[in-house]
Symmetry: C2
Amino acid sequence: MTPAAAKRPRSTQAERSARSRSALLEAAARGLSRHGYANLVLEDVARDAGYTRGALYHQFKGKEDLALAVLEWVDETWWSEVGALAEGQPSAAAGLRALARGHAVYCRRDIAGAMMTLRIEFSGKDHPVGRTIDGNVKILLKYCAQLIEAGRTEGSIPPGPPAIEAASAWLGAMEGVVMALAGRAPHDEELVARATAGVLGLDGSLAQQQE
Amino acid sequence: MTPAAAKRPRSTQAERSARSRSALLEAAARGLSRHGYANLVLEDVARDAGYTRGALYHQFKGKEDLALAVLEWVDETWWSEVGALAEGQPSAAAGLRALARGHAVYCRRDIAGAMMTLRIEFSGKDHPVGRTIDGNVKILLKYCAQLIEAGRTEGSIPPGPPAIEAASAWLGAMEGVVMALAGRAPHDEELVARATAGVLGLDGSLAQQQE
DNA sequence: GAGCATACATACATGTATGTAGGTTTCCAG
DNA sequence: CTGGAAACCTACATACATGTATGTATGCTC
């Protein structure tokens, strides 16, 4: 019996599908983090999510489609959970610092490495996944570069290498640090912040944080 | 006629073999950088070096053995070309700075990514390549952590997170930066130095280098 | 230069992972 | 409660890369 007699009687079929899809996506992200794309075997992904390859092929067109879905999902969650932190900060430097700490926290989940591995495997390649990831990174880079330039003109960030190179290096450094520390709180946050300060030339004094 | 009548008449056979081996190793490193281990197809490696798979299987026991040889080769060249820079520096901080810059220069070759991809694919896995790479990284980490601790006791490096975490983060940051900049001189060197200063808490003043 | 070993090439067998097709269960509608 | 369409599973076909086995050429030794 459908509790609320309205138009949508809380359809269980759609819910079921959505749950499966989420579980598969999460398992795929974990698998990508750990094994990369090439070593990712779909049967393991499906089993990890509690299904078989049949379910996976019902939800996604194939391996590539699955990877693209993961990318899209990561991109969305990153901007809503991390990117949003930069908004409403007093200065561009503060915004970048917030991004750094937020990124470290965000990457404590095991989905963190998915972007990294996909980027390493596909960046610069003429492949749908490569193009997507390069597109996402490009947008992110542009955003960060703008923040850096804004900070330099307003004076909260000292001069240095071209903003795009600096942004590129900064993102790379963050990825490297969170990867190396693999979510070992609380030092991951602290050290990402330090790396940020170093790359951008912010004051390296030890008393800038403790949010 | 053998020019020098001594014991070793300048054997051409050994030379030939060594040349082939070097060419294959270099091609393998390039291939690993670009495609990773799983996507590395040995026929391409061999062709890239000017041979066929037959030659490769004559020189190496197989794919795994090839990867291990690359690892060994990278490890040796790194310590002789980069690691040596830390020796004879006035302070531990100076040594670490030298390592950073040296690493950036070292990574301008396309062999740079080989370690990275192998690490991502195998680190922490129960696999010969994984064990080897983890072993190499562990030694490197220990070395860097010792430098950091030495610097802290002698006063050239301010206090901070535990030395091992700091060393881990530092290496990760360097990898990330050189990866992101992909040898775009001269900013790679500058930005690796900045990241180093940030993570280790060295003076972020802009006038520390120009070696 | 005959005999032999090493370096290298070609051809085949095996394993494995993807993708597809055909069946089975679960859920909702009338 | 019965028809039907989903979500899902099992079985099969295909592709591809590794590894091995066999063949050829080049260089060394006597």
